[in-house]
């Protein structure tokens, strides 16, 4: 089991004292709790003759590491402990079991000796969920050992040695099947990754950049024109300047005209460049936003059903809708301005230094201070944005919940209290927004204060220089003030940019989280294409649970022949729906295999599998669109006749024709309301039209009336000719025509056979049948 599970040398010494050698040990696992309900290290060790439970005292100074949080190095540093071992004879123990607790388990044994009045169950050891898998393996090996008296290499062999720690830094992988070390992972930052979405627009972006450079350059020229040149050259009547201009003589008015014209041109060019850049922005942004939304949506489609079960619809919607815009907004508006502003700041600084270096120092001394503070405050800002996002998400979910359940809310007259609940979420968004603004304002105030101080200092010191007659001209001071004010814009922008950047990266992170999510069910690269499928299904030792180590189905073995109908009966929660979910591969079994025509369904191409297996489940869903579109959902090319045929077979044709708009009736969320039975019949028609080899009906006729059900049954009898049908039903009459029936109980098949055989057996099926015919029959009606 690698190093993490190694038996400490102190325990080995203790075992040696009891003549248990290292080689005797077949399997062992670490345990992390004692039976008093405290963390304590221990081991359960299995040899051919003995089961050894070793314990140590709880150690409060130790750090208990759970999955994903551990580090190999820390484990090596564990202290030696005083071990106490208890020995149980394998012969005397009847069986080992793990009693599940809320987040762990208790290993206990049952011995052969019957004690009067008491169950001989003995608690041996306790574990948290982290050790559950390892413990269940010991139990499994123990079972085999009891059965066969000895264990072969094959039995002991562990299912594919899984590396749990990053070989580079020793950090435990959070997800064993996805060996990505959070520390050593490719550090391509979110920023660079977001940037890559703009790669196709290189040319346009280059053009934008040119615009920005022009803007920055002209911005630099402006204060010089309006300051030094205007005051010190023209108003001060500098002859030398006229010579440079090439118009020697006394015509200062002409020079003034030229300067004014240049100034005008500068402003016009600035505006023109601004417009051009605006056009570029307008063409790039919508494209990138669309691209991002498409990718998020595509990733969501790729993900397995389990992903959706874990998340709320409202929160997923926020991701697709607003996050993409937030990311792009920053990149297209923020980033170029950052570029231009940094350029402006640097160029301005250089010019200022060239003009008068001590004034420049005074003007610029605050810039690095502001930047340092900004960087330090950024994580805080990040948190505020995260909090606002979560508040928004909670509100969206609440809204979604409420709108979906509108009927229940009305029926119980709970509008008032729902209002209160919504208000609570709404207020949370408000306070998150306020605290964000609050923080942001402080941020902004900080900038403004520094800028103003810098301005006042320049005025003061500059004027002092002029008064004291140092080589400082009035025009230079004017230019300087112009430059200093020009710095204000970019600096204000920077304060804003930090906020913007944080917000955008926050959104980007959420988007990538979805894009990077690995689907639990994947198509093999070399998947088998199966044009035609006969419909033979075989389940071999299938074990599955929605949560690890909590099996819903246990070692199911089942054979369904092509062209036959199998009925599945069982209590609610027995695992019936889970079983068919596995056959249609919405989930993959944790152990065992499922074969379709002798081919493991994991090897079959998704397209072929989906085309050949159709399911009508308990939850019917009607998409926005017409009745015809809904029926033809899986086969958009179906002809009108095919659609009608499917509807007739599903006993839906009648009620569809009775609606004023017939097959063109708009149904779904914005259209006409259908009853539960009507929805079900449309779903059945949808499945029939898909023309699958395997048709799964999961309580498909539960909401239709008895008469309609009879009609649907008759059509199923027609359909079965070249199909395999699996039908789940509580109402046994639904399964009357099934060739074979299985009874599922607690995730196991408890009875199997034809209707007659099962009645003969007088088991659960018989009991159910009697209950439905006798106990539930209306008294005196019959």
């Amino acid at each position: 089991m690698g190093k993490k599970n190694e038996i400490p040398s102190g325990l080995y010494r203790l075992l040696a004292g009891y003549h248990v050698k290292k080689d005797d040990i077949i399997a062992h696992t670490e345990t992390d709790m004692n039976l008093e309900g405290e963390f304590a290290r221990g081991y359960v060790i299995l040899t051919e003759k003995k089961l050894i439970v070793a314990t140590s005292e709880p150690d409060r100074t130790e750090v208990y590491q759970f999955k994903g949080a551990g580090n190999l190095r820390d484990l090596h540093r564990q202290k030696e402990k005083v071990w106490v071992a208890q020995f149980y004879s394998v012969d005397e123990l009847e069986r080992l079991e793990v009693l599940r607790t809320v987040c762990g388990g208790v290993l206990y044994s049952t011995s052969k000796k019957e004690m009067p009045g008491s169950v001989p169950d003995v608690q041996l050891s306790a574990i948290t969920n982290m050790k559950m898998g390892d413990m269940l393996r010991i139990v499994k090996l123990f079972d085999i050992l009891k059965e066969k008296k000895t264990l072969t290499e094959e039995d002991i062999k562990e299912e594919e040695e899984q590396e749990e720690y990053c070989p580079k830094c020793g950090t435990m992988y959070p997800d064993k099947d996805r060996k990505i070390c959070p520390k050593c992972m490719d550090r391509r930052s979110i920023f660079v990754r977001s940037l890559s979405y703009f790669a196709p627009y290189k040319l346009k972006i280059a053009l934008m950049m040119v615009c920005y450079v022009i803007t920055a350059g002209l911005n630099l020229v402006w204060p010089y024109l309006s300051g030094t040149i205007l005051y010190d050259r023209i108003l001060a009547k500098d002859e030398h300047f006229l010579q440079i201009l090439g118009i020697p003589g006394m015509k200062f008015v002409t020079a003034l005209g030229l300067i004014v014209l240049t100034m005008l041109l500068t402003k016009i060019t600035l505006q023109a460049v601004g417009i051009l850049q605006g056009i570029m922005t307008a063409t790039i942004v919508p494209d990138v936003v669309k691209e991002m939304k498409t990718e998020v949506f595509r990733s969501m489609g790729r993900l397995s059903i389990g992903f959706y079960n874990k998340r709320q619809t409202g929160s997923l919607m926020t991701r697709v809708l607003s996050d993409a815009e937030r990311v792009t907004g920053f990149f297209i508006d923020g980033l170029p301005y950052l570029f231009i502003n940094v350029l402006t700041i640097i160029a301005t600084a250089i010019v200022m230094f060239m003009m008068n270096w001590y004034l420049a120092i005074l003007a610029l001394i605050f810039v690095p201070i502001i930047f340092t503070i900004s960087f330090r405050l950024m994580p805080r800002l990040w948190q505020f944005y995260g909090r606002r996002h979560r508040a928004e998400r909670a509100m969206n979910s609440r809204l979604n919940d409420n709108l979906t359940g509108a009927r229940v809310v009305k029926a119980f007259g709970q509008q008032e209290s729902e209002m209160g609940r919504f208000d609570k979420n709404n207020s949370r968004v408000r306070s998150a927004e306020i605290s964000l603004m609050h923080f942001d304002n402080k941020f902004f105030a900080l900038y403004v204060i520094f800028e103003q101080i810098a301005n006042v200092v320049i005025w003061g010191v500059g004027s002092y220089f002029i008064l004291s007659g140092t080589n400082m001209e009035f025009g230079v001071l004017m230019t300087f003030v112009g430059y200093a004010q020009q710095l204000n814009g970019p600096l204000d922008f920077m304060s804003w940019l930090f906020r913007w950047f944080t917000e955008s990266m926050n959104s980007a992170q959420r988007i990538f989280e979805i894009i990077d999510a690995v689907p639990e069910i994947t198509e093999k690269p070399d998947s088998v294409h199966m044009e035609t499928i006969r419909g033979d299904i075989r389940l071999k030792n299938v074990t599955f649970g929605y949560e690890p180590n909590k099996p819903v189905l246990k070692k199911i073995n089942l054979k369904i022949e092509a062209g036959k109908m199998l009925g599945i009966v069982g209590r609610s929660g027995a695992g019936k729906s889970t079983l068919v979910n596995l056959i249609s591969r919405l989930y993959d079994p944790q152990e065992g295999e499922i074969f379709l025509d002798g081919v493991n369904i994991k090897d079959i191409a998704f397209r072929d599998l989906r085309r050949n297996v159709a399911m009508v489940s308990q939850e019917t869903y009607i998409f926005m669109g017409t009745v015809a579109e809904n029926i033809a959902y899986a086969n958009a090319e179906a002809s009108r006749e095919e659609i009608i045929n499917a509807a007739v077979l599903a006993s839906a044709h009648d009620f569809i024709c009775r609606m004023p708009d017939g097959y063109d009736t708009i149904i779904g969320s914005s259209g006409r309301n259908l009853s539960g039975g009507e929805r079900q019949r449309i779903s059945i028609a949808r499945a029939i039209l898909a023309n699958p080899r395997i048709l799964i009906l999961d309580e498909a006729t539960a909401s239709v009336d008895t008469e309609t059900e009879k009609a649907i049954q008759a059509s199923i009898n027609l359909l079965i000719k070249d199909r395999t049908i699996i039908s789940i039903a509580h109402r046994l009459s639904t399964l009357r025509d099934a060739d074979r029936l299985v009874v599922l109980d607690n995730g196991e098949i408890t009875e199997e056979g034809t209707h007659a055989e099962l009645v003969e057996k007088k088991g659960t099926y018989y009991k159910l049948k009697e209950l439905q015919t006798k106990a539930l029959a209306l008294r005196g009606v019959e």
Partner: protein, 198 residues
């Protein structure tokens, strides 16, 4: 694997697969039983520790060599409506203790609390040393009433649940639980670390 639990303990389970003819009356009696809530008090029931560390029980002449003890309101009212159930997977209810503090003797209460302690084992976080979130996971480094723990949770939905405005339940990658009983008792820097989940 655990499917075998049922068979092991079959001695305590009433045989459901009735070999005799269908008995409507028996069935109806069972149904009635299902609809009745039986309250357990110190007058009608006796609990005892078993040698193996479990608890046995006798109520109105019925003997249960091993029972399971469940809470009905584990978060909001841990002492109320303690459900005593049969030990197999189906865990049929035997009866309910309305109030663990009043309705049973002190010894019984201690006995049952021992069972509850194991079943509902949840370390309570007393101090947050560090929380780091990276690439879809958050790494917690905390001090609990059971010692120092480091664990990891999935970001994005479901791992941190607000039991009330001030109480948090945190579930790690394996489904282990950690509780923060009152977030207002945490220091300001700790709250700042936890901010992501509030």
């Amino acid at each position: 694997m655990s499917g075998k639990v049922k068979k092991t303990l079959a001695g305590t389970e009433k045989d459901h697969a009735d070999p005799e003819e269908f008995d409507l009356e028996k069935m109806e009696k069972e149904t009635e039983e299902m609809l009745r809530l039986r309250f357990i008090t110190k007058e009608n029931a006796v609990f005892e520790r078993t040698e193996g560390g479990f608890v046995s029980m006798e109520i109105e002449g019925e003997i249960y060599p091993r029972v399971q003890v469940y809470r009905s309101f584990p978060f909001t009212d841990p002492d109320a409506y303690i459900s005593i159930r049969e030990p197999d997977e189906k865990a049929k209810e035997i009866g309910v203790i309305k109030n663990l503090r009043k309705d049973v003797s002190k010894e019984t209460r201690q006995m049952l609390e021992e069972q509850l302690r194991l079943r509902y084992f949840t370390p309570k976080i007393e101090k947050i040393i560090n929380i780091k979130d990276e690439y879809g996971f958050a790494y917690f480094d905390v001090l609990t009433d059971h010692g120092a723990c480091r664990f990891t949770i999935h970001m994005g939905g479901g791992s941190v649940v607000n039991l009330s405005d001030t109480r948090l339940m945190i579930t790690d990658l394996d489904g282990n639980r950690f509780e923060i009983v009152d977030v207002t008792k945490l220091s300001a820097p700790e709250l700042k670390k936890l901010d992501l989940f509030l």
